[in-house]
Homo-oligomer: 229 residues x 4
Amino acid sequence: MRRSLTALSALLLLAAPAFAEDVSNLNPGITTSEILATAPVHWVSVDQIAASLEGQAPMAVGFDVDDTVLFSSPCFYYGKMKYSPTSEDYLKMDAFWTDIHTNNCDQYSIPKDVARKLIDLHTARGDDIYFITGRTRGSGGETLTAAIKKAFNIEKMNDVVFTASSENKVEFLKDHKLKIYYGDADSDMKAAIAADIRPIRVMRAQNSTYKPEPKNGKFGEEVIVDSTN
Amino acid sequence: MRRSLTALSALLLLAAPAFAEDVSNLNPGITTSEILATAPVHWVSVDQIAASLEGQAPMAVGFDVDDTVLFSSPCFYYGKMKYSPTSEDYLKMDAFWTDIHTNNCDQYSIPKDVARKLIDLHTARGDDIYFITGRTRGSGGETLTAAIKKAFNIEKMNDVVFTASSENKVEFLKDHKLKIYYGDADSDMKAAIAADIRPIRVMRAQNSTYKPEPKNGKFGEEVIVDSTN
Amino acid sequence: MRRSLTALSALLLLAAPAFAEDVSNLNPGITTSEILATAPVHWVSVDQIAASLEGQAPMAVGFDVDDTVLFSSPCFYYGKMKYSPTSEDYLKMDAFWTDIHTNNCDQYSIPKDVARKLIDLHTARGDDIYFITGRTRGSGGETLTAAIKKAFNIEKMNDVVFTASSENKVEFLKDHKLKIYYGDADSDMKAAIAADIRPIRVMRAQNSTYKPEPKNGKFGEEVIVDSTN
Amino acid sequence: MRRSLTALSALLLLAAPAFAEDVSNLNPGITTSEILATAPVHWVSVDQIAASLEGQAPMAVGFDVDDTVLFSSPCFYYGKMKYSPTSEDYLKMDAFWTDIHTNNCDQYSIPKDVARKLIDLHTARGDDIYFITGRTRGSGGETLTAAIKKAFNIEKMNDVVFTASSENKVEFLKDHKLKIYYGDADSDMKAAIAADIRPIRVMRAQNSTYKPEPKNGKFGEEVIVDSTN
Ligand SMILES: [Mg+2]
Ligand SMILES: [Mg+2]
Ligand SMILES: [Mg+2]
Ligand SMILES: [Mg+2]
């Protein structure tokens, strides 16, 4: 038996409204200023990035992988539960990296829409696209390059660069004269800044297992709107 | 000489990006969770309130005045500057109240759109509408009733009830068997709760001079969306 | 060579500001009202749900699984790419369901924080918790029950109920006299409404592969704040 | 007689939930993406503006008046009701402008907090501050200069510049070599762009009578966060 909203509200009216001063902060409420509050962030859209590159010759650009191009937390959740359920040690275990990179764990990684747009933009410009990850390669083959190539059907695919430390990431950015580096982590932004190139932040999805969440815009860098998926 | 956004960005690229680790919190940045964060508030639209009253006989309802029906901060800003620039004493001075209520200061008070919608709703229902204010009447005539009548071209207008204290507000709500009381202040919500009637929060405009801003929804009461003007 | 923000801005000032009337909607901008705009949704926190159940005897409650308890999109992304890359047919293929339910694909499914809080709440109340999914069981064993039990270390675990159609979902809710049903999909809310029990919406994560995204609060139901992960 | 939230919810549970498919869009609801949606705007804080000017010699800067420095809608609401209740003709009537500028109507205009911060910043820098308004002077004295001087207790106060048309506004910006122009209206941003100086947007309060609301950031200009009051 379904009744319209009125019936419920009629009941509400009959019953004396049961509202209590919020002693237990059960109802924190919200002020007008809190609704209006805005963080001083330089938000940009993919279209604005495209406009900022108009008329410039093809260039080399780089992407971080995890939480920038792929939502790969499933592999990391699987790896933690299997190799070190009560700690983050799995990240230092060759067995974990070899497992995910030889068993194509990234077939469970969901490509990010914002990456699709950015890869299409730079491909159309004839830019040279590099994927540079802080993952450890592991001691076997790696299925990540193929997974990214397939997910974004990239024709001219450079092998994923496994840097495993920020120093080599900065080295790579400099050696290959990249102009822009897209990433979700503070370490990505710091690497771009250290290499004197344009850092652009892609937002990490809220349900990523990589915590704590970064403060997007923390270095005054451009942050792409709606880039969490 | 105007240049397209590209020119600016070209400059940006040439110039080493000047991004600094945010030592001085100059760039607080924002996390994905902070963007998603939502206060547990029971938001309602005027249409939902209308639906909740469908089929119910005409009833008596009440409105607070300042920051609920009228943005009257101009009169209070004027009064403070004139009668007690360095304190809130003007609120206890008969001269102030008599001044604003005999010189029709409310000709500078801006009617709120949400009040227009609510007054139209209750008028169409044949409800009996009371305006109950915590203002002090002052020792002269009062131009507030006429100002509200004119602003919302109300035909059947009850004189504004000057309660000057919450006790008499609760008394009035009970004596006249009001069913709903709309207000922006915590004191309005408490009065309705004390009178066992339905409290509905109208949000105070951010530029109201009446500080601090209330936590809308603090009593678990319904809060009208987009009700700041 | 890093420079403070000033250097960049100094450059900005030297370079004629390159701002263009927004012909191509490159800069849509935003109005104050758009920032203030609020949807008329009845938001609730887990604490408020707990308070609403205080003093009530233990009861039976139910949870949808996918995007309510588990972020299981990885299994569905994997399944689509493997069984029907260009369509949704995989959802009608026994091979897919048997694959994910016999190979414990849910080891890649990330448990949702909001589910952890709700399960803990109802467990502490001594409530009887059912997990009711629209998934098809497949023609083999099923590893989903164990995966949920392990993810939320539930002691008294009822086997997951595979309903595969909303009718049986409504039947189950009625037969077992559940009082509350938590879900992310409209079909979950409709099932609860049809069974005359309290529907509470959990928000689907934005990067779920299950599109289009539901309009949370579409039935006037309570929606849990911050419930996307 | 007040009851805790539980009593209400108990009632809610007893009463069959009265939820209706939202045929009349009574409950529009909201998607996760709509909550996350962000406009691509270059937001800046007053501190960031200050940092961008560090080390630079004192300069001339300008402010628009209405809805940038003062919430002056009360005078315009008063003027419309008195001189042309059913049209905007009052804006073309010398009687209106002479009235408000000789009777110090701006004693009802509320100073904006953001203007206080900006004026303090530029005063501390030794900058030369001009207030340039599109208001018509009227054929009498003008009390606006004194009202602004008093509201922000400015020592070195330049008389308000009444431009009454955007052309002379651009002329003034150029002749006096201003470096920055703060304003809420598109016309303010266009004037700054036409004069090749840095346009910075201050957001108009939602309850300003000057409609329609501008799209802040529409020219790719910097927009000051939390600048509506
Ligand atoms: Mg990353
Ligand atoms: Mg009030
Ligand atoms: Mg679901
Ligand atoms: Mg203005």
